[in-house]
Structure formats: structure tokens, C-alpha cells
Symmetry: C2
Subunit: 189 residues, 2 copies
């Protein structure tokens, strides 16, 4: 296990800034109120384009350094034109990315150097639900499995503990495994 001190970054994480940010939020918890946003424009059929740019946090309106665009569609087998992944695949991507970011931060805080983190997230879904063919089948995933490969300069047990801590503090894991209220407003003018 690495025990070097005065190391500005570990796993690419700026740990000094990470701890300073934690201290700043402890002192002023209102800074932790964020609103994230995604904009979407329908193009044709099941094809739409999402835009991610603006958000609110630490008391003011903010924006990413770049504007990100992402197309979504259905594959031909689901009567789309395959111009992008399906919406449900983006959810799996979000889960992998969230757990992985947490893993790197937590490992850095614990002075463990990671050498490799890979994952595959699989979601099983019975489309008779969304097709309206079986009222007993839900619309979403029946279950999701995440398979991680994690390597670093720590015993296997410590690497597993980092994954467990990342799960325990993952926003996307919480969103998927628990209930988030969603309100839909419609303007037809």
C-alpha cells in the first residue's frame, strides 16, 4: 500500500482539493445544493438528441467547459434506426461511471493506488412490459448486474471494501435501487 505523503494527486485525483472541498461544504452545507439538467430535442421516430451544458451549484448558475450532445435511438430490431444507444443503455453507462468515479476518489483518500478499473453492467428486461402485452411485467429492468475488475497496490479485501464504499455513496446506484419522484409538466402552446 502506498503511504507517500505530500502527494498532490493519486489515481488522478487531486486529494488536497478533494479534502478542501469537503471542509468547505462542512462549513457551508448550502453549497452542496446542485441542480443538474439535460435538454432533449426530438429528431424523428425514436431518434432524439440530448444536450448537457448548464447546471446550478455552489450558489450560482454554472456550465460545463464544453456542450455535450448525445443521440439516442432504438436499434432496427426495436423499430428504430440505431442512430444512438437506447435510453436504457445510457442508464447502465451512468451506473458504471458513477461507481467508477467514486472508486477512484475513495481509493485516493485511502492512499491506495489503482492500476486498472473495468466494468460491464448488464440489465435484463422483458419488453412485453413496455409493449403493453403483459400487465404483470414491469417496464424497466428486472435486475442489473455490475461486474468489476479492480486492480491496485492493496490486498483484494481492501479493493473490495473500496467498491463497497463507492456503492454506499453512489448517486446513480441510489437512483436506480430506490424511488425518485418524477414530475412531468407539458406545454402544448
Amino acid at each position: 500500500m502506498t503511504t507517500t505523503v505530500n502527494e498532490p494527486t493519486r489515481n488522478g485525483v487531486d486529494t488536497a482539493t478533494l479534502f478542501a472541498t469537503l471542509d468547505a461544504v462542512k462549513a457551508a452545507p448550502e453549497a452542496a445544493q446542485f441542480q443538474f439538467r439535460a435538454h432533449n430535442q426530438w429528431l424523428s421516430g425514436t431518434h432524439s438528441r440530448g444536450t448537457i451544458h448548464d447546471f446550478y451549484g455552489v450558489g450560482e448558475e454554472r456550465a460545463h467547459e464544453h456542450t455535450f450532445h448525445f443521440d439516442a435511438d432504438h436499434p432496427a430490431v426495436l423499430v428504430g434506426r440505431d442512430n444512438g444507444p437506447t435510453p436504457v443503455e445510457y442508464v447502465l453507462h451512468a451506473l458504471a461511471a458513477c461507481l467508477t468515479a467514486g472508486l477512484a476518489n475513495i481509493a485516493a483518500a485511502r492512499r491506495i493506488r489503482l492500476t486498472e478499473v473495468r466494468s460491464t453492467v448488464c440489465g435484463d428486461i422483458d419488453l412485453t412490459g413496455i409493449l403493453g402485452l403483459n400487465p404483470d411485467v414491469r417496464n424497466g429492468y428486472r435486475n442489473i448486474t455490475v461486474r468489476f475488475t479492480v486492480k491496485g497496490d492493496a490486498p483484494a479485501e481492501q479493493l473490495r471494501e473500496i467498491v463497497e464504499q463507492s456503492r454506499a455513496r453512489s448517486a446513480v446506484y441510489d437512483i436506480i435501487t430506490n424511488h425518485v419522484p418524477v414530475t412531468i409538466e407539458i406545454d402544448t402552446d
Copy 2:
């Protein structure tokens, strides 16, 4: 309201194929068993790259026509390098895209021609949860709001009914508003 018959596509939706697919799944529901997947590779800090390509459905292994790559990261204010949206923003994008795809399909099935569908999805989150600073605050979004602008050749009430039906059949809406069990497996070899 459009009542043209023998129209191969409406809203860019191939309605003949859509109805044929529904009939095929009614006859053989096992075709509706799908598994979607996302692969992820950690790059540095909170930056990772997702890959979406392979999936299973209609009885066999399949793949998208292209391989899609998506970077995720945290912005500088959250101690990242802003190489991509945050994982929680991808969830909002997925919700907008899912509701929008459903909207186009349902409108086509109801012979309503859409002229514009735009949406903004906002998610409110208190980051004292994932920062471990307040055990009473959840890790994920407190609430999500979707604001749709929908225009087409139907009365406002019918356009609203299409959004409601899309919500009632949305996989991502179900994933976010209900519980999906997630299993995490770890390989440290």
C-alpha cells in the same frame, strides 16, 4: 388530426413494422427477453469511458450498427476535469430520450403527426449525501422534473394524453421511480 391510411411512416415511425413487431411478440413472447449492456474503463480521477455495442434480444446475441463511446467526469467544482457530463446527468438524458421515443411511437400509432417535441429534465440533489456529511440526506436526486413542449396536429388534450401514455410505458421512468435490484460482483485477480 391526420387520418391518411396506407402511410408507411408517421413521425418517422415505421408503423407497419411497429404493429408487425407487436404481433410477432404476442405470438412468441420469449422474443421480448433482452439484455442491454454498458462497458466502462477508468481513465483517471473521476474520468471514465463507457462503451455501448453488444446486446441480446429476440433469441440471439446482437450489436448496434456502431460502437458508441461516452466519457463521464466531474466538473472542476466537483474536483474533476470536466471531460464529460457527470453520471447523474446521463440519467436525466436517458429519461428525456425514453419519454420522447415513446411519445413518437404512441403518436404514430394514434395517427397524430408531431411537429415539435422538446424537453428539459432537471434533477435536484444535495451533495452532502454522497459526501458523507449528512446521514439524513440521500445520495441520489431528491426529485426530478421533466418539462415538455409538444406540438402536433391534435388538440392539446390529445397531446397531453400521449405524454401520459409514454410515461405509463417508459422503461427509464420505471427504473427511476421504482426499485431495480442491483448486484455487484468484483474480480481483483
